[in-house]
Amino acid sequence: MLLEAGYTLKAHQLNYMTATPTVKSAYAVDNRGYYGEFGGAFIPEMLHPNIEELRNVYLEISQEAGFQKEFQGLLKDYVGRPTPLYYAKRLSKHYKTNIYLKREDLNHTGAHKVNNTIGQILLAKRLGKKRIIAETGAGQHGVATATVCALMGMPCIVYMGAIDIKRQAPNVSRMKMLGAEVRPALSGSQTLKDATNEAIRDWINNPADTHYIIGSAIGPHPYPDMVTRFQSVISEEIKWQLKEQTGKENPDALIACIGGGSNAAGTFYHYLDELDVRLIAVEAAGLGINSGESAATSVLGTKGIIHGCRTLLMQTKDGQIVEPYSISAGLDYPGIGPMHAHLIDTGRAEAVSITDDDALKAAYFLTRTEGIIPALESAHAFAALDYIKYKEDDVIVINLSGRGDKDLSTFIEHIEKYG
């Protein structure tokens, strides 16, 4: 029904989920749910049946023709895909190289998050689930989940740290208007990690009728792989769009910001084995790596377990999880997805850490150079241009993962300094 007559899919638009099982990448998940030594499913027994169910069916269901038709139809007509790949002429001139922006900010709801929530809610429906739960930090994933629940007529409960609820009032209002119930996480540090704990507890208490839509490429297997595959529409589109515009599928470098890592995972996915393509993951350094107020997990993190997976995370020597800091609420997660931990650990991806100050500067610079206000998260990716080496004839693709409307009050607070 969703693909009306007259709408024909181009061959290259057909394969981003169906083609992935043939990707036998050393960097993608293995059949036990690991990326090298990272990943796995470190979960209490009460979650085992749900995770096992997902693990058994997520590939089969998401590759099935009817699922694909509905998923791709919604991505096109509801979300507005494909998102443009835009050659940023003035930015390129300034940096003396060739910079393309993948415009995920132009998606419905204003960020890449919706790619995954559409996929997961279609999966939840096919599993016969009646109730959706989610966690959110900045509120972008909460809004994307509340949106698809409104679209499908399903009840939606979003867990959000009590402190984040105060910091992100506009997104709380959006979720409420969309019909979601926003439940404050009052435990621990009352931020994203605690919201995630509360969502997990809800799922333990409601195992039969509920699906948990995780927003980032984290959690127990199969979540990191499932979220990555739904987000891999980003790299799938970059491939054909770049070929159309430059004649070559492969850029010299891909740059994406990374908190848990969903937009970076989607940006990198189809290039994991293209070893001539540099993968650059940009994390938030907050006030500086050695300031004690940072979220630079690749530098400050050590191997451990968070929210059901083995990965790199910020913790004390006793294994107590540390609350990170970044001006960007979407990047202040104490861990990174297990795929990213593996990519960084093996040297396949480079990690760059960007401070609040550099991110704000980059946000203003992009806005004044190209007329695009980026999300604070995405601004970190742009700031990385000042810290990486590249050549004049390089082609660099930056994932502009979200738009900056939600961060306007933060930007305006700093207009004297950066404007």
Partner: protein, 262 residues
């Protein structure tokens, strides 16, 4: 002989296992709580290693963990406390915590330390069964350490059999689909689950936990298993206590023999 094996060899019914978070209410209460529980007739004690993100636990245990961490509790210190209390009691002691804490201490070093200070068994709810089997089972056997795994109403019969083959000590039967401290009372649906597992004739003894808070729930659990585990309700008692020892004695009496308290 391992103290847990000894307990289950000599006592088949009405075993009372009490959980508390080490370092709560005060950093150095561990010894007093253990010895007072033993004097009150508790059979088995579970020492919670306080963790920042205890995802299988409810607010009571998380709050007590937050207090314990603020008080300065850590794994190293807890081992010292256990070592010291072990000179005064032979009650079976189990440590319960999340696997990240074990990883950071160093898995092998952690398990060896447990055996050295006199811990009898472990409960690590987020350690996958197959990881235990592949990586740690042999070491546990060599050290004489026991391991308990959880089962829930959703656990399949096939998986329960696998867990029963692998577990040594007892099986921790989660009474309902819940986190700790979430529900009170025992429903018909739970009774059906208790009966179903009872009829499976597992090799390991079973203790029922989660939602056990008073004499009624304890007695029901005991009808269907070797005994029960109480955590959150005991912690709430400690939170309210003005006289710790009297409160502990009163709590155990309330669970075991309420007529005596009345």
């Amino acid at each position: 002989m391992n103290r847990l094996d000894n307990l289950f060899a000599t006592k088949k019914k009405d075993i009372l296992n009490v959980y508390f978070t080490a370092g709560h209410p005060n950093l150095n209460d561990t010894e007093d709580i253990i010895l007072t529980l033993e004097a009150a007739g508790v059979d088995l004690i579970e020492l919670g290693m306080p963790y920042s993100d205890p995802m299988a636990d409810g607010p009571t245990i998380q709050d007590s963990s937050t207090v314990a961490l603020k008080n300065g509790m850590n794994v190293e210190l807890l081992f010292e406390q256990v070592k010291s209390v072990r000179e005064k009691t032979q009650i079976p002691l189990i440590m319960m915590g999340y696997f990240n804490q074990v990883m950071q201490f160093g898995e092998e070093r952690f398990f060896r330390k447990c055996a050295e200070v006199g811990v009898d068994g472990l409960i690590l709810p987020d350690l996958p069964v197959y990881v235990f089997e592949e990586k740690y089972k042999a070491l546990f056997e060599a050290l004489g350490l026991r391991i308990s795994f959880l089962i829930s109403p959703q656990t399949s019969e096939e998986r329960i059999r696998q867990i029963d083959d692998l577990a040594k000590g007892f099986i921790y039967m989660v009474s309902s689909s819940s986190i700790t401290g979430a529900k009170s009372g025992i429903s018909d649906e739970q009774m059906a689950y208790f009966n179903r597992i009872n009829e499976m004739q597992l090799k390991n003894p079973r203790l029922i936990g989660f939602g056990i808070s008073d004499h009624a729930t304890y007695s029901t659990a005991c009808q269907f298993s070797s005994g029960a585990i109480i955590g959150s309700a005991f912690i709430r008692t400690l939170d309210k206590a003005t006289d710790l020892k009297a409160a502990i004695k009163g709590f155990v009496d309330m669970v075991r023999e309420p007529e005596k308290v009345a």
